[in-house]
């Protein structure tokens, strides 16, 4: 390639490695902590800094650590319930936001936005004070309630943005062809939202599973969800068992993601092309 040809191309085309270098650097910055966690979970000695040999000791410890496993389970339970509840409520809210008429939707939009931008510590503390005032003992369900309050807003925003792109005429067409108003929604709008609903549900699951702040303010004296347990472990001396727990959490989210993706594919395959015609 001649020097002239090389200098003709735009900046990044002349030195493509620059773009790659930056990408790798940013990805490394984001994923390095995760990589370190995974690496040291396999450490044979009790150090988070010096790596000795590869060993599965800490995983063994984790699986024999009763309280740790209970916490994992509790977190998962809370996440599933919160995800489903906030998916339902958030979707209903999204419809209200999109179609509530000028007055309704402005208010709804404003309030959801407010919920999203308010710092979680503030909302969590406020929730705690409310529960105390109402003389409600903090327990499993108060955690779920706190999570649902948080996740619904996210679900609503995600579903609403997809909803606004859906052609309203398809609903009218469904009604024109004999479906009642709700039937039209179920048969025509919800299928178009399927992918978004799955994504929103997953988002809610992850938000709940991983949540610390709201959980801290709404958890009672029973079994602690995983993030709280790890936090308390961190204060009393930490072993790579924590790393193992982190890797297990990661694995759980990966499993949920894969299962959902597979589920969507299977459902989609079954729903299409059921009408046959006579030739």
């Amino acid at each position: 390639m001649t020097a002239a040809a090389r200098s003709d191309r735009p900046g990044n085309a002349r030195r493509p490695w620059v773009l790659w270098a930056i990408t790798v650097l940013v990805l490394a910055l984001m994923l390095l902590p995760v990589a370190v966690v995974m690496l040291f979970s396999l450490n044979s000695q009790s150090s988070l800094i010096v790596f000795r040999n590869v060993s599965l000791t800490w995983y063994r410890t984790l699986f024999h650590d009763g309280p740790m496993l209970s916490s994992l389970l509790i977190s998962a339970e809370i996440a599933v319930i919160a995800a489903l509840a906030s998916l339902l409520l958030g979707t209903l809210l999204a419809f209200g936001m999109q179609r509530g008429g000028r007055a309704g939707s402005t208010t709804a939009n404003g309030m959801v936005f407010l919920r999203l931008v308010t710092p979680e510590t503030a909302t969590a503390a406020a929730l705690f004070l409310l529960l105390t005032q109402m003389k409600i003992t903090l327990n499993f369900w108060t955690i779920v309630a706190g999570h649902v309050a948080l996740c619904t807003a996210f679900v609503a925003v995600v579903v609403r943005s997809q909803l606004s792109g859906i052609n309203r005429e398809t609903e009218y067409a469904a009604q024109d062809l004999g479906a009642r108003r709700l039937g039209a929604l179920w048969l025509v709008v919800i299928p178009q939202l399927r992918a978004t609903l799955v994504a929103a549900g997953l988002l809610a699951f992850v938000l709940s599973f991983d949540d610390f702040v709201t959980t801290y303010f709404t958890a009672g004296v029973g079994t602690q969800p995983l993030p709280l347990r790890i936090y308390s472990m961190l204060r009393f001396g930490v072993t790579p068992e924590v790393n193992a727990a982190g890797v297990v959490m990661l694995a759980m989210v990966a499993v949920v993601l894969t299962a959902t993706a597979l589920g969507v594919v299977i459902v989609r395959r079954r729903a299409v092309g059921r009408t046959r015609i006579d030739r």
Binding site: A174, L177, G178, Q192, G273, T275, D278
Partner: protein, 369 residues
């Protein structure tokens, strides 16, 4: 529809509309954007409730019957196909709502897809089809239910010209074949003229005229209709004592019935279609003509279109079709006389647009009687 009106906020979108469509006919509602044709269609479909008046289907009042229970189907402008369903599922949708038996669904869906030439693509998804094919799916999906009335909301707007022409012919054939009454809404007057058995012309919420294509074209009831359909020359003039004197020099004598409702000094407009004006040499004596000069000549292949400048500075468009023999084209700058038959001259009040009937005799020049 009898006396139907619809208001949005304080504005009338549709005012006192009376329309009657016969079974099995192709009826068009024609008008510019915002004239109320879509609102009228939505009221027929049941999506909007009229504020005043009645809508009757087969003799029964249907004002309060919602769309899903009305025996009317719609083809929407955006087609509104269900993207997550196959073509066959889309078409079967209405039949499934009515709980028709599977065997019957299979047969009817197959039949209608044959009518619209889409059997081969029965299991494709809408996204895989071309615009023209999607439009045909929308049509099949509505027609398979054999409704009393099919409403079409400017369905050919998104197609290119050639495809549009093709679909116009196909739609006409399908309507004849299936025998369902079509109500077709459009702003394209050529489309309405070629496809319809009858046309209703609307503007600003009102129906201005209802008639067959030739009635609308030859005998427009008012100025708006005359100017909206095809091209026309509008020559302004003033009325005095039974004669309308046009600014370009000619004058028109009104018939003796005196029903024109004109008073002295009223402004009027004489309208003549370009193909009805004849060019004549000014040397040949005649009792009736308007003098002018050829300003422009445009070769159209099937004829020549002339712009003729008249004495008041206004121009008239004259279309000279080429007949079987050779017609020599008239060069620019030639002095000519414009002549037309009395019957071909349409007279209207300039302000109200109302038609003035009963013209007598031929065109006179102002100079001599």
């Amino acid at each position: 529809m009898i006396g139907v009106s619809k208001r949005f906020k304080s504005q009338y979108a549709v005012k006192s509309v009376d329309l009657s469509v016969d079974e099995g006919t192709f009826f068009s509602i024609l008008g510019p954007s915002g004239c109320g044709k879509t609102t009228t269609l939505r009221m027929l479909g049941g999506f909007i409730t009229p504020d005043e008046g009645e809508i009757r289907l087969g003799g029964e009042q249907v004002n309060s019957i919602p769309p899903h229970r009305r025996d009317v189907n719609t083809v929407f402008q955006s087609y509104a196909l269900f993207g997550h369903l196959s073509v066959a599922d889309n078409v079967a949708f209405g039949l499934k709502r009515k709980r028709v038996r599977s065997a019957e669904i299979r047969q009817r869906v197959g039949d209608i897809l044959r009518v619209v030439s889409l059997e081969e693509r029965a299991h494709a998804k809408p996204a895989e089809l071309s615009g023209g094919q999607q439009q045909r799916v929308a049509l099949a999906r509505a027609l398979v239910n054999m409704p009393k009335l099919l409403l079409l909301d400017e369905p050919l707007g998104a197609l290119d010209l050639k495809l549009r022409r093709q679909m116009q012919t196909e739609l006409k054939h399908i309507q004849r074949e299936v025998g369902v009454a079509f109500i077709y809404v459009t702003h394209d007057q050529e489309e309405a003229l070629t496809m319809s058995d009858r046309i209703a012309v609307m503007n600003e919420g009102r129906v201005l005229q209802v008639g067959s294509p030739s009635e609308i074209y030859e005998r427009p009831a008012n100025l708006f209709v005359a100017q909206f359909i095809g091209s026309i020359n509008a020559l302004p003039g003033t009325y005095r004592d039974g004669i309308v004197s046009l600014d370009c020099g000619a004058s028109i004598t009104l018939g003796s019935s005196g029903s024109s409702g004109l008073s002295d000094g009223d402004a009027a407009v004489a309208c003549i279609r370009p193909e009805k004006i004849m060019l004549a040499s000014p040397d040949v004596p005649a009792s009736s003509s308007v003098a002018g000069t050829i300003a422009e000549a445009t070769y159209l292949g099937s004829g020549i279109s002339y712009r003729v400048r008249m004495s008041d500075g206004a121009t008239a468009e004259v279309l000279a079709a080429r007949g079987a023999g050779q017609v020599p084209s008239v060069p620019v700058g030639t002095q000519v006389d414009l002549r037309w038959l009395t019957d071909d001259c349409l007279l209207f009040h300039r302000n109200s647009g109302q038609a003035i009937g009963d013209l007598a005799a031929a065109v006179d020049t102002a100079a001599g009687a």
